[in-house]
Amino acid sequence: MAEIVGAYFTSHVPAIGGAIHKGLQQDPYWKPFFDGFDKVHEWLAQVKPDVAIVFNNDHGLNFFLDKMPTFAVGAAHEYHNADEGWGLPLYKSFQGHTELSWHLIEHLVESEFDVTTCQKMLVDHALSIPFELAWPDVDAWPVKIVPFAINTVQHPLPSAKRCLALGRAVHEALKTWQGDERIVIIGTGGLSHQLDGERAGFINAEYDKFCLDNLSKDPDALTQHSIHEMVRLSGTQGVEILNWIAARGALGEAAASEIHRNYHIPISNTAAATLLLEPDALVGA
């Protein structure tokens, strides 16, 4: 019987990859952020996941405006990183879990989620950086993945309510999965930030605190805001919190416990956060 061990959330700012590459973890600018990962490493060593279901967003690597899915689900044997336009060193590849991908897709389409299935999918820093942060010293990732990409580029975006429902449908699907994996749920991106426009640099710690406080006990509270209100509150790219909301949904409807939180301003243009949640009851699938 598969088990959902918990959920890990973190920001995925591209500059973090550069800091890792240059070994700046103890640099004063970076230390308050990287220090938040000691507890993550400890937790992962303890819960030992072997599969990760990851909610993230593409930044113009795998998807363009010719075919922009609201919800894309990976069903590939492997996922590669590629040049995102800056000629940076490539991140390690990921092994897919195609059987679990198709199990989730079957359930999601039956539950009236109109997903786009991706039997090839490039992944960008939004997926790689959270893994580099979580498992900093490995040659190959210790988990297979099923990646979900949520549209945070082309408005209209899916509502927070819809993203939470997507996650919960994934949770329902896991209940009928016959494997015996230890599954970690991952949500990446955010928190508040805005890269574009005259309001560039906008950060809102109060809204971020509202999100962090409610994710464990009352994630439905995050669905009270429309996408427009979320942009107002968290910035044009702060809407990446949608990935966190979907990931929280995949943990199930029951309350969860926050076992770790780190929040730091700024990393690059962003309020950076790291969070670990564990389901209050052991969640068998």
Binding site: L65, W86, L195, G197, E198, G201, K209, H228, P266, N269
Partner: protein
């Protein structure tokens, strides 16, 4: 059309909706091409020819020529794609932020650092 459904605009913020996307397609398509190193080199070798190949509108071409980020956004550019163009010019997101807010780069960086005060204010309020 769709505009009527939208609530009040957010100051200094440009939602990349269908209207923007329809206007910006060519510019964004060019920027998306910069995922490939050969295309970045081709742009640097002959910017005019490369822009012409993607049929940029005159507004888009002018904004690119002037490295005018707000102009690119007004012409339908999306920041996720524009960031790849900015990279060609050696600009990171703080440089781009400074350009858009009329600050110097050190000023924009300080502006970001100063926002850490929000945390202290919150702690003071919530205990």
């Amino acid at each position: 059309m769709t505009a009527q459904q939208h609530p009040a605009p957010i100051e200094g913020t440009h939602l990349f909706d269908g209207i923007a996307a329809a206007k910006g397609f060519e510019l964004n398509a060019m920027c998306y091409s910069f995922n490939e190193a050969a295309n970045r080199a081709a742009f640097l070798a002959d910017e005019d020819a490369y822009c012409a190949r993607f049929n940029l509108t005159s507004d888009q071409r002018e904004a690119v020529a002037k490295r005018d980020v707000l102009g690119m956004i007004a012409a339908g550019g999306n920041i996720y794609y524009l960031a790849k163009l900015a990279g060609i010019f050696g600009l990171n997101v703080q440089d781009v932020g400074a350009l858009q807010t009329g600050k110097s780069v050190p000023e924009f960086k300080q502006f970001l650092l100063d926002q850490a005060q929000q945390i202290k204010q919150l702690e003071a309020t919530h205990g």
